[in-house]
Every structure is written in structure tokens, then in C-alpha cells.
């Protein structure tokens, strides 16, 4: 059973056209993360939510925003995608406070910017 779900799996957008990627989880985890991963590179953390508290990484461009309307859902909004934003976007969750603190990843959304 899927635990972290990302939709869509593939997204094509035009240069400058806003796009939203979505993530949902059935784990009731209190922390949700968004990563950007470019080809052959490590996942790069963009931001995370600890419950409703939003934590932005210092080098995340202003072009990237996020919303977490409830525990289960988290959205990544790219306001004006550029060619350099083409990447795989990974959502992950964890329950902070448990002994494991493993992150559970979704399958990712591959974004193509034309």
C-alpha cells in the first residue's frame, strides 16, 4: 500500500507558467519534506514542515513556495518555473520523536520545463 503518494508522476510546464506538485501521506507523520534532485546529484532539501511550522532552507529560491493545509497533504508551488528548475521533486515524511526517524519517500514527480 502506498504510504507517500506524489501526483503527478510527470509534469510538463512552460517557462514562467506556475505549477503545483502535490504530496499526500497515510502515515500520520508530523514532518514533511520537499527535495529537489537533479540528474546524478544528491537530493537537496528545499523546505520542511514540522507540524504546521514551516522551515525554509537558506538557499531555496523565493520562486519555490509550499503549503501544508493538513497533516496528510503538502504542496510545492513553483511560481515562475525556469529551465533550471527541471528536476525530480521528492516528497518525504518522518515522525520526529520516534527512535528511528527514517524518512519515507514518495516516488517523485519529474518536472520538465519547456
Amino acid at each position: 500500500d502506498a504510504m507517500v503518494i506524489q501526483n503527478p508522476r510527470y509534469q510538463v510546464t512552460q517557462f514562467g507558467k506556475p505549477v503545483t506538485l502535490s504530496c499526500s501521506q497515510t502515515l500520520n507523520h508530523n514532518v514533511m519534506y520537499w527535495y529537489q534532485q537533479k540528474s546524478s546529484q544528491a537530493p537537496k532539501l528545499l523546505f520542511h514542515y514540522y507540524d504546521k511550522d514551516f522551515n525554509n532552507e537558506a538557499d531555496t529560491p523565493d520562486n519555490f513556495q509550499s503549503r501544508r493545509p493538513n497533516t496528510s497533504f503538502c504542496f510545492l508551488d513553483i511560481r515562475s518555473p525556469g529551465l533550471g528548475d527541471a528536476a525530480m521533486y521528492l516528497c518525504a515524511t518522518t515522525y520526529y520523536g520516534e527512535a528511528g526517524e527514517t524518512q519515507y519517500f514518495g516516488p517523485g514527480t519529474r518536472l520538465l520545463v519547456l
Binding site: H48, M88, A92, E101, Q103, Y104, F105, G108, R110
Partner: protein, 110 residues
């Protein structure tokens, strides 16, 4: 800068051989984790080792941690073609988040 650095960048072995990947990091950690990523997919957690542990096993996986050298290694024994993937180490620095290394691309030839 990235916390974890991994070597080798790429590794190609025959099925049945062992594969060893290494990870180094720079600051103190709460735990270190290893993840696998098949091409075009999300990451899958393999194993977590805490800062007060030195070695951990899970099936064909063996992870070691040397906090004095700030390094870890992942050993996959008796490799299979299905082990072909990218492997990432990630460090938890007590901050609610992980920092990933650049990864090792493993290719197991059958």
C-alpha cells in the same frame, strides 16, 4: 556544502561479488542512514546507525560507523543484478532533517 561525501562515485562488479561504499561527513551526528534509489524512483531506506553504534547488519547489508574518523561504510554481500541502483548516505545532525551525500552508482553485472 554537503555533509556527506561518498566514494567511489561509481562501482561496477560481477554478480556474487561484494560491494563496499564509503561515506565521510564533517560535523557531529545523531545518526547516519543509507538509502537506495533505483533509476527515476524515490529513495528507499536501507539501514540507520546511531552515533553510539559501531556496526549494524540487515540481511546482506553491513554498515559500520567510525565517529572518530567521521566515516561510514556500506557493504553489500553476494550482490545481485537487482542491487543495481544509486546508494546515498545521509546524516541527521539533530536538526529534524537529513543531509545527503552525492551517492555511489552501483552496477551489478550478471
Amino acid at each position: 556544502s554537503q555533509q556527506g561525501e561518498e566514494d567511489p562515485q561509481a562501482l561496477s562488479i560481477q554478480e556474487g561479488e561484494n560491494a563496499t561504499m564509503n561515506c565521510s561527513y564533517k560535523t557531529s551526528i545523531n545518526n547516519l542512514q543509507w538509502y537506495r534509489q533505483n533509476s527515476g524512483r524515490g529513495l528507499v531506506h536501507l539501514i540507520l546507525i546511531r552515533s553510539n553504534e559501531r556496526e549494524k547488519h540487515s540481511g546482506r547489508l553491513r554498515v559500520t560507523l567510525d565517529t572518530s574518523k567521521k566515516s561510514s561504510s556500506l557493504l553489500i554481500t553476494a550482490s545481485r543484478a537487482a542491487d543495481t541502483a544509486s546508494y546515498f548516505c545521509a546524516t541527521d545532525n539533530y536538526g529534524n532533517k537529513l543531509v545527503f551525500g552525492a551517492g555511489t552508482i552501483l552496477r551489478v553485472k550478471s
